[in-house]
Symmetry: C2
Subunit: 307 residues, 2 copies
């Protein structure tokens, strides 16, 4: 490839599968909101921070879109399209760019997304990728962090801690590695979240840190039970041999699952959608995690922050 414009025309334009993208031949894209207000979210990933320098670039692209899809799905909405800015490290590696585009294509097919536009630059530092994603709420609007109240239940999709275990114990188990490299947000759960959730957030910084955002914005306390946390078989096996890894389950980050609060009468809907009941909403503030004996667990209270 001979440069920026070729990369856009040959590699990215085929991913611009909707008319609103104008074939990536102009400076803007169109955003139709015929179905009501769109919602939008923006996530950035930097090499060495959000992914390892050695991660294959097809997985970097998939993780980038997963993180953005996760934000939209947790709000009870359907992701539809995205803008992408790439800052490539120099010297630009054509093979890396090709793999990245392959990963975008896989993720688009999986989640029904279209590329709308963006920017492509180079940097003297590590590569970074920024996505602004757009979604359409299944309900009247997004399910926010605020909205739950004492007496409601706390549900989580999928399993917790796999990605963090995969990062901290690389090559112990392929499933944990995959959870870190190509997380799978609960795409099919958006409708049940929209219909029955009262407060919701996606887990990117860890269960306790993100749960605290719901507690803060809803003015309640979330009481969670360690024994109830959903674990994969691979995580169970690892924890049996390395019990010191337990705090990664609730503070490790990169889960890209949905933490949702809802009234007890909605329980069957969440059960049927594969969610796990992990606690309840009480009067108070913050998040507490209780051990099987009812004692509060204090290890791993701090989630990931960038500075």
């Amino acid at each position: 490839m001979s440069g920026e414009f070729d990369f856009i025309r040959e590699k990215l334009a085929p991913l611009a599968t909707v008319g609103e993208a104008l074939g990536l031949t102009d400076d803007v894209a169109l955003l139709h909101a015929d179905v009501g207000p769109l919602i939008t979210s923006m996530d950035m990933m930097v090499a060495g921070r959000h992914f390892r320098h050695t991660d294959p670039y097809d997985t970097v692209a998939q993780k980038l879109l997963a993180a953005n899809v996760s934000d939209i799905v947790a709000k009870g909405a359907k992701p539809v399209a995205y803008m992408l800015s790439c800052a490539w490290a120099q010297p630009v590696d054509d093979g890396q760019m090709d793999r990245f585009v392959d990963g975008l294509g896989l993720a688009q097919a999986k989640w029904g997304l279209a590329l709308l536009g963006g920017d492509t630059v180079t940097t003297d530092g590590p590569a970074s990728f920024t996505v602004t994603i757009f979604g359409t709420p299944f309900g009247d609007g997004p399910i926010l962090r605020s909205g739950t109240k004492p007496g409601q239940q706390v549900w989580v999709s999928g399993t917790l801690g796999d990605a963090a275990l995969g990062l901290h114990y690389p090559q112990i188990d392929g499933a944990l590695d995959r959870a870190y490299l190509t997380p799978l947000p609960p795409f099919d759960a958006a409708e049940v979240i929209a219909k029955h959730g009262t407060a919701s957030i996606d887990l990117s910084d860890g269960l306790l840190a993100d749960g605290a955002h719901i507690a803060d914005q809803s003015g309640c306390k979330l009481v969670l039970n360690k024994a109830a946390l959903p674990l994969s078989n691979a995580a169970r096996l690892l924890l049996a041999n390395a019990p010191e890894a337990w705090p990664l389950i609730w503070s490790g980050g990169d889960d890209y699952q949905a933490l949702v609060c809802a009234p007890p009468e909605s329980a069957t809907h969440f059960q049927q959608a594969g969610f796990t009941l992990i606690g309840d909403v009480q009067v108070g503030e913050g998040v507490v995690l209780l051990d099987i004996d009812g004692q509060e667990i204090t290890a791993g209270q701090d989630g990931f922050t960038h500075f």
Copy 2:
């Protein structure tokens, strides 16, 4: 400041001046498109590439928004809101962040923008900033790169080359420095572009490079006259002493002016809006720049590309 969340709550939230931003307290923002389709564009700036490491960060923020506003205005639309991702170089410099936020505030006030949301991370490399901007077209939709035809005229807003001269000859003239640091896109020209323009683009990579995009997409040739190019007094003075700088006028980049094509009967509207007639649209392809004797100028044909 003690971290990422304080930065968002204390510094950025005051810039989220519309309800759709949800006070930056959630993972998403709302996009209403009651007035018709929105348009969107995304631009990224990396320290050492798009601005100098030594540039004051209030000007970096203003330039970042100027570059994004420029894209929207050139399409005949009114910029309304934006998403922002910041990747801060470590160690994070609180004073730099404060100045950056000051610059955002100035730019928001100047162009009537509101911050909707975004992301904040750190990087081991140079700082970078990415904006996704939203605008509402004054007409039925954006004025694209395509749409002009032979017989039409070529207009440009403002003056050309000031930023490039300011970059290459720093501290020669305060006006040129300012043009580089805090460019001023033709915000007030969006309506005349929407009403009378047939093809339009903002000049960020240089007159010839960006003009070529109109030529390509419209399937025409743009014939421009060097003698007609609008120059600031500061540029004229510098060129009198350094004639070798002339190619920067048409290939230097960072102008953030609008290049617009329109039929001759619209000429008075562009004149009244302060545009300068610099050429016409002919049968053929590409862009040619003619000297006063009608000879084609070949110096500085290549605009800025990133790789």
